[in-house]
Symmetry: C2
Subunit: 328 residues, 2 copies
């Protein structure tokens, strides 16, 4: 992914994070894992969205850096606790916190990060904005817990409906992008209407993003994605593709889909090949494209409706295009 | 413990909690554990402190109910995550959350409770008070994480100094009582000076409370406390008594103290008897009394310095007396 025009935002964010000197906090055992996970990198999409939303209303985007950091610290908190729950040994190619430091430090450092995200959220914020910012943040954060719970619940269900799936990814993935954009508006003192549109834009983009992610797992070029093709299928993930196939497939296909996802002793390659065949036979690929397009259009409409300059909006369009056309 | 004069506060709190209908939140798997832990009861000391601090300035203490609930939900969040880390099977005589629902639900429901505590914190709060309330809350919450980390670190240290011990209990136990009282002042719109005094009062009372707790474990009447005498000693807890004995004991006593705490294969009864003998030989009991008195005086002074009626202060004195003279 290329971020050329976005480099000033990314650089400003990384410098701000460095200046925070997270590792100087005491006691060391609590903050070393925090520093570790915040230094793992990642694309910093969410904090950049906050800065880009701010610059829709005002040039001096550095004013939104604390809130951009709040979003990124919160996001990383969810990764730390989710990785414990999923027993994930690695993330972005390196050891997860619980793998490197142990489960107890991962729980407690995660808790500290959630609290720190509130500290960054209110930092240097105008008094009048603190209430709306905290309420927006808490509401979104609780929805994200709901999404994680639904995702875990899905593992024990034979099937999930398309509505359940869409609500789960809305909570688990999309609302955080909505928060990231909306917060930029809050810091800039935008109107409630503008903040609402930013939120809608982020949520719609997040939905499109997750559906694209599900699509890539099944139909992406493994040599480009760098991930094993069908990883979601091997893990019995009820993705958009699986859920859509279950919805439109007849009884025989439904039986086969639940059959493969309930088997513990099957050759993964055979399972992936057969499920991909089912997806192809139902042309699930074009449903993915259509739904992704629907959400992308929604995001674009919400952004277009905002009272701001075309050039400042273009940066957000560019980032969205980058995210939604990525092949890995 | 008797709460006669405090019954109106306790009743108001319990009704408010009931009206919240925590179990109606969705998804069920996320909020059933929240409802479960909040219904376990307990003495509700912290939320009552918030209501009592409010009535120092204004009669209508029900106005502080959301913030009282914020403190209690936060407190219960710490219990849920601490119990996972300590692998505690029961609390207040019933199964802990992770024991009843599993570790993953305990992690995630705990996270949800931390977020919910921020939601209650800002509920119906005057706009001008949201910023100070959130900053006070986050700062305290992060200190409590520090305290839990220090407590875990102590397990791997041969000894801890008295200063380290006092800082640990300040963070782990005392600052939350400080927050509980200070928040009552914040909601009532008290001056910064009054809020500061409430905080000092709560912290000092919390220090006295924890030292009394340590004392009871070693010298309380087991038939009254209902706990095994020397439970802390059996668990190798570096309590005030152990730390003080280590500080004032000579080399021989230090060696013996670390010896008993590093043995894995000893008769617990022999170990408890011998450590209690050491405590008695050094008259640790009177150090406990003195230090508890010092902190109690500090709490009383801070409260007396507040500009409020004697009768409204008396309720807080009564609760403190109840807590600090308890024999179990």
């Amino acid at each position: 992914m290329e971020f050329k025009d976005l480099a000033p935002y990314q650089d400003a964010f990384e410098s701000y994070l460095l200046r925070e000197n997270l590792e100087q906090n005491k006691p060391e055992a609590l903050f070393t894992p925090v520093k570790y996970v915040m230094s793992m990198g990642g694309k910093r999409i969410r904090p950049i969205l906050t800065l880009l939303a701010y610059q829709l209303f005002d040039r001096d985007f550095e004013r939104a850096l604390p809130q951009a950091l709040a979003v990124e610290v919160f996001h990383n908190f969810t990764l730390v606790h989710d990785d414990i729950m999923d027993m994930a040994p690695t993330r972005r190619g390196v050891d997860t916190i619980h793998e490197k430091f142990g489960t107890n430090p991962a729980i407690l450092s995660g808790d500290a990060m959630l609290i720190m995200s509130y500290q960054y959220l209110t930092r240097k914020l105008d008094k009048a904005q603190v209430g709306p910012a905290v309420d927006l943040f808490s509401g979104t954060a609780l929805d994200i817990c709901r999404g994680q719970q639904m995702d875990m619940d899905f593992e024990n269900q034979d099937y999930v409906t398309l509505d359940q799936y869409l609500l789960m990814i809305k909570y688990k993935t999309a609302v955080l992008l909505g928060l990231a954009l909306a917060l930029g508006g809050v810091v800039a003192g935008a109107t409630d209407e503008s903040i609402q549109r930013l939120k809608e834009c982020g949520i719609a983009a997040g939905m499109a993003f997750q559906i694209h992610d599900d699509y890539l797992d099944a139909f992406g070029d493994a040599t480009v994605t760098g991930k094993q093709r069908g990883g979601d299928i091997i893990q019995n993930k009820k993705t958009y593709l699986w859920t859509k196939a279950y919805e439109i497939g007849g009884d025989r296909i439904r039986q086969e889909l639940t059959h493969w996802y309930s088997q513990t002793d099957v050759d993964p390659a055979v399972k992936v090949r057969r499920i991909l065949e089912i997806f192809q036979s139902l042309d699930i690929e074009s449903y993915c494209r259509q739904l992704q397009l629907k959400y992308t259009d929604k995001a674009i409409d919400a952004l277009n409706a905002l009272d701001s300059s075309v050039e400042s909006k273009q940066k957000i369009f560019d980032l969205m295009t980058l995210l939604l056309s990525r092949s890995h």
